[in-house]
């Protein structure tokens, strides 16, 4: 049996989160309360107010959080469909609910939770996870606590990792969701092509999107995500590409590094 104070909070938390709470509260509110450890005085007081008043809190919490998620991924939510998105969100609240104290991070928690469910659901458009991830990027990158680091002032060296701006993300999509129109009513399907975007916050605070080729993405995966020294990263990227590290690939990598330095994303070699 939970402590008295804890029981009351547990009951309200369940009323807000549990998928079946509205039905159960309307069917037998007293049983719902007792199941969470509430006893006579508290049960009587809550029964006097009625279960609908408890459910006002459920509506307030769900409306606020669902609207925040929808605001961040509005095109994904629209393509999912109003009732389906609402059901997804109800299930999120039931199974996990937010754990972040920052409201702006709730949409990312929802997308992380819903990704395997959308992926496994044949009724969900196959590009929707990519679109939701893409829609989150703008606020995610703009607000990333990392980013804006100073250049190391060290020239590139083959035996050292490179330092990139902390805000940059390498996004790899199976669908070219970045080409979809912004209109919420649009229902077109994006091209089904592997798409690589390097996304970062520039020195003015704007979020920039750089579409890059497969070879560049392989290189950056090794250098940004795995933080490998340049030579090792290039070798691994070539292996994964099923090709040798020839002059053409080296030249492309050099051009990529120069372009990223121009954009202020590549900040030099990491100090030893």
């Amino acid at each position: 049996m939970a402590a008295k104070g804890e029981a009351r909070l547990a009951a309200m938390s369940a009323a807000i989160r549990a998928a079946d709470a509205p039905q159960r509260i309307r069917a037998d509110y007293a049983a719902f309360l007792r199941e969470h450890g509430l006893v006579d005085g508290d049960v009587d007081a809550l029964l006097e107010r009625g279960g609908e008043r408890m459910l006002v809190y459920r509506s307030l919490v769900h409306n606020r959080l669902r609207n925040v998620v929808r605001e961040f991924i509005d095109r994904s939510a629209a393509r999912r469909g109003k009732s389906e998105f609402r059901a997804d969100f109800d299930a999120f609240m039931d199974e996990q609910a937010p754990v972040t104290p920052y409201l702006r991070d709730v949409p990312a928690e929802f997308v992380a939770w819903v990704t395997p469910r959308w992926t496994a659901n044949e009724a969900v458009p196959p590009y929707l996870v990519d679109l939701a991830r893409h829609e989150l990027l703008e606020t995610d990158v703009r607000n990333d606590p990392a980013g804006g680091e100073e250049p190391t002032e060290l020239p590139l060296a083959l035996d050292r990792p490179l330092r990139f701006d902390g805000s940059c993300r390498l996004m790899r999509y199976a669908w070219a969701v970045h080409k979809l129109p912004y209109a919420l009513e649009d229902t077109s399907t994006p091209p089904h092509v592997l798409t690589n975007l390097l996304v970062f916050r520039d020195r003015t605070g704007k979020v920039r999107y750089l579409e890059i080729g497969e070879w560049s993405a392989l290189v950056l995966e090794e250098l940004i995500c795995r933080k490998l020294p340049v030579a090792e990263g290039l070798r691994r990227a070539a292996d994964r590409d099923g090709a040798s590290l020839d002059d053409e690939r080296l030249a492309k990598a050099a051009n990529l590094f120069a372009e990223l330095a121009d954009h202020g994303v590549l900040l030099g070699a990491e100090p030893g």
């Binding site: 402590a3 008295k4 104070g5 804890e6 009351r8 909070l9 547990a10 309200m12 938390s13 807000i16 989160r17 509430l38 005085g41 508290d42 009587d44 007081a45 809550l46 107010r49 008043r53 408890m54 006002v56 809190y57 307030l60 919490v61 606020r64 959080l65 996990q96 609910a97 937010p98 754990v99 972040t100 104290p101 920052y102 409201l103 702006r104 709730v106 703009r142 607000n143 990333d144 606590p145 990392a146 980013g147 804006g148 805000s167 916050r201 605070g205």
Partner: protein, 288 residues
């Protein structure tokens, strides 16, 4: 740290650019902000806030401390919060007499607490712990509540007074919340105000509210301040003297110039009441 008085505005993303451009200069006495909207955040937002805090006194008002909760405090949250408060030199920090999370889940709303001694002791313990962690005084805000969570042993003002006494902390008095509760639960708001220790009031909030249905008003901060709330503000200021008063607006935010007009309207009520407070002080000092 400075302690501003007069009418301030709750800073919101919807008009922060206008504040940055100087449109509020000379029109609001200070700004109140919620640290959670800026903590753990990079990019333009902290730079913008840094520039604004050079021009305005800042008072902080949190949303997620869950003083009425039972989950342990989040150490990382408190570390970030203290760093933020130090950076922006907030003279005190306020949060709500509510809970907002349970069993690790954070529900991002102001959820009601029972008005009993066990809860008062728990809340007061947490307020004292928060003061220690933050290295500055804490103020607690009375919330709008739509349901008391169980059978309370006392009424709300008695409960608030008990928490303030046990925690030896300050009161962030939201007069709109008192008004909303008085309408929803059928009590006299002035009786409520007379029962709380006004000497602990460090700051006030005013705001507007909206109807949920025929029987319930919700504290949405989505409408203009009502005359009844102005009257309550004046009643308090007449008794407590100069304090910082924040106009809160979170939804249906009007054009910024119109919002500043409302700040000016609050200020007129405040200045009139302050005049009466000064007169009362003179009478008390020198006799009528």
């Amino acid at each position: 740290m400075t302690t501003p008085t007069g009418i301030g505005l709750g800073l919101r993303a919807a008009f922060i650019e206008r504040v940055e451009r100087g449109e509020a200069d000379g029109k609001v006495a200070f700004l109140e902000l919620s640290p959670e909207n800026y903590m753990h955040r990079g990019g333009p937002a902290p730079r913008r806030l840094g520039a604004i805090s050079e021009r305005f006194d800042i008072i902080t008002h949190g949303l997620m401390m869950s003083l009425g909760g039972v989950d342990p405090f989040d150490d990382e949250y408190f570390r970030e919060l203290r760093s933020f408060l130090d950076r922006h030199r907030s003279p005190w920090h306020s949060d709500h007499l509510c809970w907002c999370g349970f069993d690790g889940a954070l529900l991002h709303d102001l959820l009601p607490i029972p008005f009993d001694t066990g809860t008062a002791i728990r809340v007061a313990d947490r307020v004292r712990a928060a003061q220690d962690r933050l290295g500055r005084p804490m103020a607690v805000e009375n919330i709008s509540w739509y349901l008391e969570l169980g059978r309370g042993q006392r009424d709300e003002p008695e409960f608030v007074a008990e928490v303030l006494e046990r925690a030896d902390c300050l009161l962030m008095l939201d007069v709109n919340n008192v008004f909303v509760n008085s309408r929803n639960h059928g009590f006299d708001p002035y009786t409520w105000l007379a029962k709380v220790p006004l000497e602990r009031v460090v700051q006030l909030h005013v705001a507007g509210h909206e109807l949920w249905d025929d029987t319930l008003i919700i504290d949405t901060h989505g409408a203009d301040v009502r005359n009844e709330v102005y009257d309550m503000l004046a009643w308090v200021i007449e008794r407590v003297g100069p304090k910082p008063v924040v106009l809160e607006r979170d939804s249906n935010i009007p054009p910024f110039a119109q919002l500043l007009d409302e700040v000016a309207a609050v200020d007129r009520v405040y200045q009139d009441a302050l005049g009466r407070w000064h007169a009362n002080q003179l009478v008390a000092k020198h006799g009528s």
